[in-house]
Subunit: 197 residues, 2 copies
């Protein structure tokens, strides 16, 4: 071992994630990244290979965070359906402080990836599919716990749930005021609550 790294990879990646989340891939320049990560171009390339690879790592980080935040509420002994419903209300009541970090980074990425950036779009698509799968798993658990009808189509339910999450995040980004946003979240939450047996 020789010289220690004066930067913290996690801290740098976090800063990159926030910057890409706000500005998107194309509008974020290396100059912006240098400022945000407090690193010179050479160091950035030594650590992350390329702008695209850095973006990819930042997107993965976003995905992991999102998944962890969602899953953190499920310890097993409380109502899975209740947790799902709570999460929707939570989204409506706690929009991110930074107005630029309210929309889902996966959706932003998916919608702003150009045809020649298949890799990035596919990565975002893959993460969205995984999250949808997580939703389905929880609904399945709820079904097993007798909270939902046995004949209910869990995949379809998860798809609709994800739509609601995406919509809430977009509305928050759009500038919908707190009251209306909470209202929208409540409306969505109740539609899932109604399914309870």
């Amino acid at each position: 071992m020789t010289r220690a790294r004066p930067y913290n990879r996690d801290v740098a990646l976090d800063a990159a994630m926030r910057l890409f989340w706000k500005k998107g891939y194309h509008a974020t320049s290396l100059k912006d990244l240098e400022d945000a990560l407090h690193m010179k171009p050479g160091s950035i390339y030594a650590a992350f290979s390329s702008k695209e690879a850095l973006f990819s790592a930042a997107l993965e980080r976003y995905y992991r965070r999102n998944k962890a935040e969602f899953l953190s509420g499920f310890d097993g002994n409380v109502s899975p359906l209740g947790k799902m419903v709570d999460y929707l209300r939570y989204l409506g009541q706690n929009p991110a402080e930074d107005p630029e970090c309210r929309a889902c980074m996966l959706v932003k990425t998916l919608l702003s990836a150009t045809p020649d950036e298949d890799a990035i779009a596919d990565q975002a698509r893959g993460y969205l599919d995984e999250l949808k799968g997580d939703f389905a798993t929880v609904f399945e658990t709820a079904k097993a716990a007798g909270e939902l009808p046995a004949d209910l189509d869990v995949k379809r339910l998860a798809r609709r749930y994800q739509s609601e999450v995406m919509t809430l995040r977009i509305e928050a980004h759009r500038g919908t005021n707190g009251e209306d946003l909470a209202d929208l979240a409540d409306e969505a939450a109740r539609s899932f609550e109604q399914l309870r047996i």
Copy 2:
């Protein structure tokens, strides 16, 4: 009158709209526009002032088209609620041929505008608000025609309707297959149909 314009402004604007729609503002270069509009940089600037002004004009064109397409179904003598429901099913059954032109350009623009591009984001926001207002107007008409309960909150309904439209377009962009998309649209359509008295 002197030299006639060898380009058609509407045709050029249409090409610009499609290109910006696909690639977004940042990823579209002037070179791309030159190729798509069959115009040299000088002509583009003589006709549209700047890349941003051209984008703005293209966005307005998209908005007008969208509005016209939506309103074209309302002649007055048929069920307004029926038309609203039909439009959702139409969206689910007729995704644009070009997979890059399926998501709503207004949403794409709103989500990919950077903080320093307030003008563009505000324009997209304004158009979305106008379209939401159009939805509300039709629901109001449906209410007046006795199709909907008199105590129904039309604004909230319009907000939810717009969410469904945005979601369908995002799902179409995401690559959801035709069957699932039609299914999703049908699910949304039925939720509005259920409100009929």
